[in-house]
């Protein structure tokens, strides 16, 4: 009942164009008034502050700053150049290079938008010049850009870890294999596309000297995931600290090593990054407030009862979770979606014997797909803008990518060993 009213009010406000943060807070207030609930608004608003405050979430703006530093600091181009000497000769080579670059970039950035922007700005023009349609080039970048939130470090996985009380270290480990699988699937689509359209049959293999040269250029950038992830996995620093290390390392690489960024560009870069982060964080905070009311009103308990009556097995539960998250992801960005649904889904996962780490990864994969599912989505917009293509045109070219990503999603969901293997190994 309550959940229905909340869903209805929230979607009505959000689809009417009320910015999400005010739509969420407005929904919370309206539900409290409408149902005559006795929670004082001061308390609700303190949970709004509380949703913004946790130290671990400081990693969100920091990873956004790091992503901005890397995309403006010339890291994108060098990663692309390196991937090109490795994979450029294959059929659909440029597409494969795009995916490989997104995978590598995902290892340094935890933001899908940053990934799509950094790689897309270099690769989309290159692919179009080669004869790929702008629609396909954009579709590929929109999809591959989201690898950044599956491959660690990942902002959504970090936030999920906080909300669900799951280990961020384990979540980051669980992202490695699925990220690579999604990437491999997309590469197959590229090879097929290159052959089918004949626009990119592949070229000559790069010489060893060329590979070496581009590796040397890209090395400072490629060292970054080793430092960040190595630091987290060995326990040298926490995920939040790793984000600060990423920022400082990104500053050094883009300003001192690549010299692509000047001091006077820094204020605007910091400003943009913290503005973006504030816009994200208030939505997270507002979602926390709404989630608090949902939890206090015992909605999760009712959802569990309902789910038990529909889903008999773990498999049905996972299927329903997938369908639900895919639908939700079409309309809502990953972070608020995770904050809102994790309190409902994590208790359910326990009931059905699903590891919360596995669940978090599956949820994030679904929401990543939502980032390029038309009509709205973060990477979809960026890529379409970079390619100067309409959303409709990009959407048509997304079809083969959807087939592959949904197949991989099914694998990651139902073969727990794929995401969890590394976690089990380390635990």
């Amino acid at each position: 009942m309550l959940l229905g009213a909340i869903t209805l009010i929230f979607f009505a406000l959000a689809l009417a164009g009320v910015p999400l943060v005010w739509a969420l807070l407005g929904t919370t207030v309206l539900v409290i008034w409408g149902y005559g609930l006795t929670h004082p608004l001061e308390t609700i608003f303190l949970t709004y502050i509380g949703g913004v405050e946790p130290f671990i979430l400081i990693a969100v703006p920091l990873f956004i700053v790091a992503g901005e530093l890397l995309s403006r600091g010339g890291v994108g181009e060098r990663i692309v150049a390196f991937a090109r000497t490795l994979f450029g000769f294959l059929p659909g080579g440029l597409g494969i290079v795009t995916v490989a670059s997104c995978l590598l970039f995902g290892g340094v950035s935890g933001s899908a938008i940053a990934g799509a922007a950094a790689i897309g700005s270099v690769m989309i023009p290159a692919m179009v010049r080669q004869g790929y349609t702008p629609g396909f080039a954009a579709a590929l970048v929109a999809a591959a850009g989201t690898l950044a939130v599956i491959i660690p470090p990942s902002i959504p996985l970090l936030v999920y870890g906080f909300v669900a009380g799951a280990s961020v270290r384990d979540l980051f480990l669980a992202g490695v294999v699925p990220g690579i699988l999604f990437g491999a699937g997309m590469m197959l689509v590229c090879a097929w596309y290159g052959r089918k359209t004949g626009c990119d049959r592949g070229g000559e293999r790069a010489s060893r000297a060329e590979v070496w040269r581009s590796l040397r250029e890209a090395f400072p950038a490629l060292l970054m995931p080793v430092i960040i992830l190595g630091g987290i996995w060995t326990g040298v620093f926490t995920p939040t600290e790793s984000a600060a290390v990423a920022v400082v390392y990104g500053l050094i690489v883009s300003m001192a090593v690549y010299r692509s960024l000047a001091w006077r560009e820094l204020p605007a870069l910091f400003y943009q990054a913290f503005l973006t982060s504030a816009a994200v964080m208030v939505v997270v905070g507002a979602t926390t407030a709404l989630a608090w009311v949902i939890t206090v009103e015992q909605v999760p308990v009712q959802v569990i009862e309902w789910m038990k009556s529909v889903a008999e097995s773990k498999w049905t539960f996972l299927l329903l979770a997938n369908v639900f998250m895919l639908l939700l992801g079409i309309f809502i960005e990953p972070l608020p979606a995770l904050v809102l649904t994790a309190p409902l889904f994590v208790p359910l996962a326990r009931v059905y014997g699903v590891d919360p780490v596995h669940l978090g990864l599956v949820m994030t994969c679904n929401l990543a797909i939502g980032l390029y599912t038309p009509p709205v989505g973060g990477t979809l917009f960026i890529a379409a803008k970079l390619a100067n293509a309409s959303i409709a045109r990009v959407s048509r070219e997304l079809a083969p990518l959807f087939i592959v990503t949904l197949l991989v999603l099914a694998l990651v969901t139902y073969v727990a060993a794929l995401p969890m293997g590394l976690v089990w190994l380390i635990r």
Binding site: L41, F45, P54, Y271
Partner: protein
């Protein structure tokens, strides 16, 4: 030379307020990076400074709520505008005014109730820093009040001929 992105046109006092908020975000943001990084370094040297976590959280809260106000001014809050774009011009203007009015209502509540929370928390102190909790909670009514000023300006624009 403009170090920060160009802001939408507005009367001088509003521009000054906006610029002050913008620079506060840059400075506080840089402070967050510095504090967390220093914490990493000290951590390696086995020095534990407990205040960095609390201080980081405090600065984060302020940066976020000031950032939310700046995002109102620059129209960069996350929103689904696709449905709105389908409306004819006149209807869209009316809808925009209705949205701003709704947002103003939410912000007014945040200011009023946030202020109550602040007043109730002067007595409680942060565990390590020993500063009143109110210093942290104050970010909500202050940030929301500034956001409210920007929203009211937008709202006034919806009713006048001022083009956006």
């Amino acid at each position: 030379m403009n170090l920060l992105p160009e802001a939408p046109a507005a009367p001088a006092p509003l521009r000054a307020l906006g610029a002050a908020v913008d620079w506060a975000i840059v400075v506080l943001g840089a402070a967050i990076v510095a504090v967390v990084f220093v914490n990493v370094v000290l951590h390696q040297l086995d020095v534990d400074i407990a205040w960095t976590t609390e201080f980081g959280e405090l600065v984060m809260v302020w940066t976020t709520f000031l950032g939310a106000a700046a995002a109102v001014r620059r129209g960069s809050h996350m929103a689904v505008r696709e449905v709105l774009e389908l409306l004819p011009r006149g209807a869209r203007r009316a809808a925009d005014a209705a949205i701003q009015l709704f947002v103003a209502g939410v912000l007014a509540l945040l200011v009023a109730k946030g202020w109550i929370a602040v007043q109730a928390s002067w007595g409680n102190v942060l565990t390590v820093l020993d500063w009143p909790m109110a210093v942290q909670y104050l970010a909500l009514p202050v940030g929301s009040a500034i956001a409210l000023v920007f929203v009211l300006w937008e709202l006034a624009g919806c009713f006048s001929a001022r083009s956006r």
